[in-house]
């Protein structure tokens, strides 16, 4: 490397990209952080705290903290609404950036989930059409966002994340047809928007809730031969908070195998067994009932025959699938794609690195640790260490 301070491009502003960028800045390395959407934070900034009386180590607050770190760090130059279209390797890299297509209609407003998102709201077209609750001072115009042109960098960290499984591929569940059949991500959005878990159909508090695990994960028929690792912890923690808010809630979790949440799992699992009824089977199909309740059919394990149960709300634990952009990013960077469709480890001398769920499922905590390791490897490549 030459004598000037090397610069790194981080592609993706989710928790992996944020962490990698911040770790590099800790060592005085300038970073160009490129994010396709209008907001930093990725999927995880939308996640809500899962604490009951005590912290359940979901990591959602760490994302908020890391996002704050990054926007307040002058060494990190953030490019919102920007994507990379080509990467030329010479002495370093020449990355070509373009404004990404957000697909907003004129007058449409989107919001960030963190108070550290700048801007907090983004509007397409004329700002005069803002809805009344939106702060004008906090609103940016879509046209003002985005970077076009070439940037020279010395290494590239790809942190483009994952895509949630499309539940429409499980047609017997009828996602999209029944209002009270939602995914875990829908559930997070409901809590964000309405301050509590309320049924989409009528705004009532659901008292009987089912979680269905492994929707899209561990599914040989779909060729998805991986465990998404985060959905068992998600459902168990979420069930814990629902139960904490409403001790009368009746919660069932349909599963294949319960996966661990991380440290202290045996203690957590024993405790959560008091809150959740665990049913070892995956439901076959779902039908609508009166009052927008749902009937869920499944096989009863120890009776060997089908049974049906009624619920106010059914939550699909959709799995972590390779990011939509994976193939394109692989083409641009030359990073290979593995059997499962996630990014594989690039050659160590390529100058390209992968962080976070672009490489496969991981929790927030595991993603942050992985991003730290990736930043370390990038620094080693750049020769900023002995």
């Amino acid at each position: 490397m030459n004598s000037k301070t090397p610069k790194v491009m981080v592609v993706g502003g989710g928790i992996a990209g944020l962490t990698a960028a911040w770790e590099l800045s800790r060592q005085n390395i300038p970073v160009e952080l490129v994010e396709k959407s209008c907001f930093l934070g990725g999927h995880s900034i939308g996640f809500t705290c899962k604490a009951t009386d005590s912290c359940r180590q979901c990591g959602a607050c760490s994302v908020e903290e890391m996002l704050k770190n990054v926007v307040e760090e002058p060494l990190i130059n953030v490019h919102l609404r920007t994507e990379i279209t080509s990467l030329e390797k010479g002495e370093g890299f020449k990355a070509t950036l373009v404004k990404s297509d957000i697909g907003l209609e004129a007058g449409q407003v989107v919001r960030g989930f963190s108070q550290y998102n700048k801007p907090l709201y983004v509007v397409a077209g004329d700002a005069a059409q803002l809805p009344p609750e939106t702060e004008v001072a906090e609103t940016g115009n879509l046209d003002s966002l985005g970077t076009e042109g070439d940037i020279a960098v010395d290494a590239v960290i790809v942190a483009t994340g994952y895509t949630p499984f499309d539940p429409n591929l499980k047609s017997t569940y009828g996602y999209g047809k029944w209002p009270n059949l939602i995914t875990g991500l829908d559930l997070e959005n409901i809590i964000r928007d309405r301050g509590a878990l309320l049924r989409p159909s009528d705004g009532s508090k659901p008292s009987k809730v089912a979680f269905i695990q492994c929707v899209g994960s561990r599914d040989e028929r779909l060729g998805n031969l991986w465990c998404s690792e985060v959905c068992c912890p998600y459902a168990m923690r979420m069930a814990g908070t629902i139960k904490h808010d409403n001790p009368d809630a009746d919660i069932s979790m349909f599963y294949i195998d319960i996966q661990n949440t991380g440290k202290e799992f045996p203690v957590f699992y024993e405790k959560i067994k008091e809150d959740i009824r665990f049913v070892r089977t995956i439901p076959v199909d779902i039908y609508p009932l009166e009052n927008d309740r749902l009937e869920l059919r499944h096989m009863v394990e120890d009776e060997g025959k089908p049974s049906s149960e009624e619920y106010d709300l059914v939550v699909l634990s959709v799995g972590i699938m390779p990011g939509k952009d994976t193939t394109a990013i692989s083409g641009i960077t030359g990073i290979p794609v593995n059997n499962d469709g996630f990014l594989d480890s690039p050659a160590s001398d390529s100058g390209c690195f992968v962080a976070g769920t672009a490489g496969g499922p991981a929790s927030i905590a595991a993603t942050m640790a992985d991003a730290g390791k990736t930043a370390f490897e990038a620094m080693k490549y750049l020769g900023v260490m002995k």
């Binding site: 979901c58 760490s62 195998d257 996966q259 661990n260 202290e264 942050m368």
Partner: protein, 530 residues
Amino acid sequence: MMTDKSNMVDITLNKDVLVVGAGSVGLETASKIASQGYKVSVIGQKTACARQSGCTDEMLNSGTVNIMQDVVLEDVAGVTGDFRVTLAKGEEKMKAVFGAVVVAPNYSYASLNGAYGLALSDRVMSQSQFEAFMDSDGLKKVAADSGSDADDVENVIVAFLTGFGQEGDPVSTGRALKSALAVQKTSGCKAYIYTGNIKVGAKGLERIFTEGRHAGVVCFKPSVMPEIEQNSDSVKISITDPVVRSTIELEPDYVVVEEALVVGQDNLDTATLLRIDTDLDGLLPSNNVHRFPVRSNRDGIFVASNSVDAANVALRIAELIGDGIKNVSADQAKVDEERCVICLTCYRSCPHGAIFWENGAAAISPAACQGCGICASECPMDAIQLGDFTDESLRKSVKDAVVSVEGSPSIVAFCCKNSALEAGEAAARFGHNMPAGFKMVKVPCAGKVDVEFIMKAFVEGADGVMVAACHEGNCKAERGNTYAKWRVNEIQKRLENMGLGKDCLCFTTIASNMAGEFAAKVNAFADKLA
């Protein structure tokens, strides 16, 4: 008194690092720290090859990585940047100073055969024993000797027991899955797995599980531990299969039992010496999201349990030590020597181990102090002041926070800057409705909320006082929220005794990213006061 921001001082940090644990992770961590230009001493029993763990010849020859075989930690004093360590090798004692300490625990494995009522024998092996047996082609030879190495005969049966002696984890499940697949691929052999939950939550395990099933590995997941009968030369395993609804019996030639991670007294002793907390399983460090993955409750002491941790430890050390000079606020927390009676309260209450003794009074290390203020609030002599949050400035903040608004109760909320303050600011920015008389008083940690300040808010005319802390287990100062809760309970009792009722004071916990929830809590409190 406002903080004098110019009162910054340069402190010198020792640039040497001590790694406790000379297994592969300890040695890898040492190599990564050394690659950043720091000198590393590694102590403990060496159980891995230094070169294979990343140490270069240059590091080893130059002494940048100094492996001190069989040396143990005897005593640790001092604080981050300046740990004064006593090391021992047999009777010989050595003193050394280190800027940072890394623990790379050497956990071991113990067979759980006892949990299954099994005695280890030629036919009943622990997972480790069986792995060694496979590595030495033991099973292959047995299959050949029994004449069952023809492709269509499966005379040698191996049963794996996992997930009943313990809940298990992907590491344990992964070992069983890999061994079972290897058994199944050995001509004339067949593998059965009896398991609770198959822990496939790690890279590649679902594929190995699927490959095994396709190769013929049979997996049973009974809801209770199988019935096991061990005789002199045989073991019988019976389960009730829920699907076919009958009892399935198996007499395997080999039984392989899972193993549990054993923390070991040596690791616990190290934790005690370093005054760092362990989690509920006794593993280092304690379980707090703010410190994931490698920080302990003490600044300058880190834990590396795997290869990913090793890199993260190296980053934290470079951030901490840098070039050996750190610019810190000299009056972040200061002890008034005249007032200090050396009661040890601050020393005991400091979660960061930042307090020590100097010239007959307590002294606070500006390098290790995190400015939480727990010591200042707990000190019975009011001898400790925080630069940014003096008692005087907090009294003024409290006074300013009591506002009289028509039709709205006056609420003073003491908000931890790490959680509630963030949530409150976000609630305002996102336009959540809050009572007009609601005002926040920023505190460095709920542990800095003194009884005096709460009472002052009432004296100034507040209708309600709220103390808003981090959730239990989420406090950056470990116990600041607990101290705050105790104090609130104490004052509530006093208020009741005074006949004022306790409902005008509340304690709540909140996360930084929960603006809507915080607004709802504030509004509920206001409704109660109305």
